[in-house]
Symmetry: C2
DNA sequence: TGGTCATGTGACCTGGTGGTCATATTGTAT
DNA sequence: ATACAATATGACCACCAGGTCACATGACCA
């Protein structure tokens, strides 16, 4: 937990420090992020940093908390277009809503995704708790799909979860990689090209790459 | 390129050094791998390391080259079960053969995959060349599938490549993560459970998660 | 035996890291 | 104006990184 001193700071200064940290984590990941650079970028003394935070993990977890709070607020003001969406449609909606969210806080999300998706694979003890929470959300979704008989019976729940997890990670990674090249991220994410690209990824997750008889039927 | 001195070394000593480097990269990735630890593990002096290699990138690229040569040799002695496999079957076969290969050099592959798949995403300039080569291999595969009319026409080539790339990466990552926990990797990879798991991932890539009419037909 | 050349060695260099702390500065209440 | 607590500061610490280099060792030949 950050020290109380952080919250006594004028908001502008606090935001400056956090922004510097976000940029640092986004650019260097967790392990290689440098507190020296963070204090230089935010124009405070090294000692001051340690008046505000315990250590590097402390500030990172604070960013994580901020993101989670923003995300909860965001998803509470959003609503699915209609009730009783089937789980696949709900997953699609969730990803799409996630896109909008991503375009609001691109840099923060880049920083955190980089650490969790990439480094988290290998320093897994540190952030295992976070990953577990997202898994549980997918679990309920998959269970619903099974109950409604919408999941291919050849596929067991664990596999389905893994596949959804893989795709939401792949989409995140794609967005972050491409998004950083764009001048206006919001506009780029909302553009029909990007939306279509995401739609197609999700389509393949649902229906697969191969041409089948039912696809031929669907297209007619 | 490593210096000539490396190749004058007795083979056992050279293998010891390379093994130490493999373990180091596997455990710490490229950026955080420490030459001090490598020389300590392989019981040579720091100065000696620089008699053999230019720097850290030099030794890593040497490992990469070794792996590529082993891989080429391996795939030349393997043959697909029958001629004229359709591209999806060929992709499945390639992945399966890759599994066998992976069980031969698990540690080396772990080291290199970690750097290329994980760190390569962010330090992309360093190893962009390697990634480009694998993409081209997938490209030809996808083009074949299109020619044979086996690809869902809703899906364009770029997307299909991206999906195959994502899945071969996901499978590699899965194998590395789970494989390191196993006592006998070869046995674990050949076990029916593991094979079935991979089969199912590839199945979903081909046919998707959702229950469709044609699946119902296939199961009967 | 002495000379020469490839190889081995570890102390040492610069520059970076995360973290500490005595001291200076500032804000506030009396 | 004074006193006192909260905050700001940057020199400093121990440690580790990659890389260098003067010197030691050893193999081979005259």
């Amino acid at each position: 937990m950050p020290k109380p001193t952080l919250f006594n700071l004028p908001e502008q200064k606090r935001r400056l420090i956090l922004q510097a940290a976000i940029d640092e984590f986004a650019e260097y990941g967790f392990e290689n992020a440098s507190i020296n650079r963070i204090v230089a970028r935010s124009d405070i003394a090294k000692g001051s940093f340690y008046q505000y935070f315990e250590n590097k993990e402390d500030i990172f977890r604070h960013l994580l908390l901020m993101l989670e709070q923003e995300k909860m607020a965001f998803f509470q003001e959003q609503h699915p277009p209609q009730k009783n969406l089937d789980p696949f449609a709900y997953f699609r909606w969730m990803i799409k809503a996630g896109l909008e969210f991503q375009s609001r806080y691109p840099r923060l999300i880049q920083a955190i995704s980089r650490v969790l998706l990439i480094e988290g694979l290998y320093y897994s003890k540190l952030f295992a708790d976070v990953r577990e929470r997202t898994r549980r959300a997918l679990q309920t979704l998959v269970n619903q799909a099974i109950e409604h008989g919408e999941l291919d019976p050849q596929i067991d729940a664990d596999l389905a979860i893994m596949i959804m997890e893989t795709w939401s990670n792949a989409i995140s990674t794609y967005l972050i990689q491409e998004g950083t090249k764009q001048a206006d991220i919001l506009q780029w994410i909302r553009s029909p090209q990007t939306q279509e690209r995401i739609d197609k990824m999700l389509y393949v997750m649902e229906y697969g790459l191969r041409k089948t008889e039912s696809q031929t039927l669907r297209n007619e």
